[in-house]
């Protein structure tokens, strides 16, 4: 399993990852075609029908209207730094309990010095690490696609914060009695009514496109094909971490715009699945193993005892 500290991404590595993606998808779909609800293992192909959003980083101008729209759509308190305040770009921000999405600015090697802007929010993975981490099922992937949070079940263990490879969920450490996990939920309340998510509706430059994942992938491929000089030939999120509902296309390398490229294509729940398979094995095999050892040691003790009585006429045990 290659890691971030290993070789920088290169062309052969990308093709190896794509090869691994095919292998991973085959493994995921080939062997066990059963859907086990308890283990929440769905196949990657099911995510094609899910709602998603395509983010075109070549269109984003960093106006931050999406941040304001998100706040309005979710009844969150007003942004600390108003939309016009561009000094926020001087440091790299992350999501917050009151800020489900942020836009970050990255410098690129453009001669004009134009930066690239990147919108950060929950990726709504096809196989979310956070949902597999949640021990009470408070985070789960809805049939429509968004990964949402049920505050009536959450016990506040924060394992989901540990698990998310994109470092998205946040926790209300300032609340004593009703702290919640906060993260983007793709405006589930709006899309259930047939409306667009807040950020998508307000983006003035059409950088965000909402639709079915399979349609978004087609759209992204079209754009890349039509403007090959403008885009890197890769749809980020198509296979990363097993596929995400939020997809990115960009002109700058994804690593340079805050999108990790070393996540691999294996869905994250698979990482613990093998260990969990160990559990029933131990439950079944250990009793025999240990019970057998106990019986053998008892038999040996009795043998020693009787031997002792015969030889020593008494027991002198340590």
């Amino acid at each position: 399993m290659k890691s971030r500290a290993d070789a920088k991404p290169n062309v052969s590595r990308r093709s190896f990852l794509q090869g691994a993606a095919a292998a991973g998808a085959t493994i995921a779909m080939g062997g066990n075609l059963r859907k086990s609800n308890a283990a929440n293992i769905q196949q990657v192909s099911d995510s094609d029908g899910h709602a998603g959003v395509l983010v075109d980083l070549t269109r984003c101008i960093g106006c931050r209207i999406c941040e304001a729209a998100c706040v309005a759509a979710n009844d969150l308190p007003e942004l600390e730094a108003p939309v016009e305040d561009k000094t926020v770009f001087e440091s790299r921000r992350r999501t917050d309990t009151r800020t489900y999405t942020v836009v970050n600015r990255y410098a690129t090697s453009d001669a004009l010095g134009d930066p690239v802007y990147e919108k950060v929010q929950c990726m709504h993975c096809a196989e979310p690490a956070c949902a597999s981490a949640c021990l009470v099922g408070a985070l789960h992937k809805t049939p429509e696609g968004p990964v949402i949070y049920d505050q009536d079940l959450c016990i506040g263990c924060r394992y989901c914060l540990i698990a998310c490879p994109f470092n998205i969920p946040t926790y209300e450490y300032d609340r004593a009695l009703d702290p919640k996990v906060q993260k983007c939920h793709m405006c589930y309340h709006r899309i259930s009514r047939g409306e667009l998510p807040g950020c998508v509706a307000e983006c003035p430059v059409d950088a965000l496109t909402y639709g079915r994942r399979r349609d978004l992938i087609k759209l992204a491929r079209n754009r890349i094909r039509q403007y090959p000089d403008r885009y890197i030939d890769h749809i980020y999120g198509e296979h990363e971490a097993g596929g995400t509902s939020w997809l990115y296309i960009s002109g700058a390398p994804f690593d340079d715009v805050g999108l990790p490229t070393d996540l691999g294509t294996q869905p994250f729940p698979v990482y613990t699945k093998e260990f969990l398979s160990f559990v029933p094995l131990v439950l079944v095999v250990w009793p025999a193993l240990l019970g057998g050892m106990y019986l053998m040691s008892r038999a040996r003790e009795q043998e020693d005892d009787t031997e002792d009585i015969h030889v020593h006429g008494g027991s002198e045990r340590p």
Partner: protein, 275 residues
């Protein structure tokens, strides 16, 4: 190692060698723990030798496969697309009759409708249709069809304010920190040597629009460097000395390449004149 398979083969090989080295080490360790009395060396040394041997093999295998760091191919330069900020520009004025005179091909605009001429909004919704991403949203359609045709035929407005007559673009309040000039397009929109040109997709922008995204930063270092120790009068040919480094005059920095003598005074002045 280009493939996953090669990686697995390599790491498994090192693991197996290490495991065997460990097993022999374990035997030696066990002997050291339990065995009392003579003959310890005889029992321990062979295991240690074998353990070291396999450990050495492992190290050897690792050394022969030191990974190289291949070059990262640089991607093509991207360019940003600035589309219209609809809220600020308000509704557009459209003279349909004027267009009727220009062409009798109704289907050019009213496409995919046979002989009928439905309004655009009949098919194109204000927000794009998630079920059919090939059909753009209404505002986008107007822009593509209108400006595209205007540009192609070199007739008709192509600037935002050309159609959005009631544009609510705020007047430019920003001044350039070095030159104090309040007209961005004047320098950055024309072909002035040594001044960064607006990218082509900004071509429709007006001065008021610039300030919505751009906030020119005041660079204290640059600010300090523009102070001149001598008056301009009598020294109008700046490049004569500063271009050649004559009389220890500080040279023209690289990012000023192409600028003319007249442009120097826009930023450079004696300290008393600096606002």
């Amino acid at each position: 190692m280009d493939t996953l398979l090669e990686f697995i083969q390599f790491t498994k090989a090192t693991e197996y060698l290490l495991a065997v080295a460990f097993l022999f080490g374990f035997i030696a360790f066990w002997q050291l723990l339990w065995h009392r009395g003579r003959g310890l060396l005889v029992r321990v040394v062979p295991s240690v030798v074998l353990s070291t041997g396999f450990a050495g093999l492992t190290v050897g295998l690792l050394a022969t496969n030191a990974t190289e760091q291949p070059q990262v191919p640089q991607p093509e330069k991207p360019f940003l697309s600035v589309t219209v900020l609809a809220k600020l520009y308000g509704p557009a004025a459209f003279d349909h009759d004027a267009h009727l005179r220009l062409t009798d091909d109704c289907a050019f605009c009213h496409h995919k409708s046979g002989e009928a001429t439905p309004p655009c909004k009949t098919c194109h919704t204000p927000e794009h249709d998630p079920q059919n991403l090939a059909k753009p949203a209404l505002a986008h359609v107007y822009h593509v069809r209108c400006i595209g045709c205007h540009k192609e035929n070199q007739i008709g407005p192509t600037v935002c304010a050309g159609c959005h007559l009631e544009a609510a673009v705020p007047p430019l309040t920003l001044k350039h920190p070095l030159t104090d000039i309040a007209d961005c397009i004047g320098c950055h929109g024309s072909d002035m040597p040594g001044i960064p040109l607006m990218p082509p997709d900004h071509a429709d922008a007006t001065n008021g629009v610039c300030q919505l995204c751009h906030k020119p930063q005041l660079d204290p270092e640059a600010l300090a460097k523009r102070a001149m120790p001598h008056e301009i009068e009598g020294f109008e040919e700046c490049l004569l000395c500063h271009g050649e480094g004559i009389a220890a005059a500080p040279g023209v920095p690289e990012d000023h390449t192409g600028r003319t003598n007249q442009m120097c005074a826009m930023c450079h002045m004696v300290p008393q004149q600096i606002p």
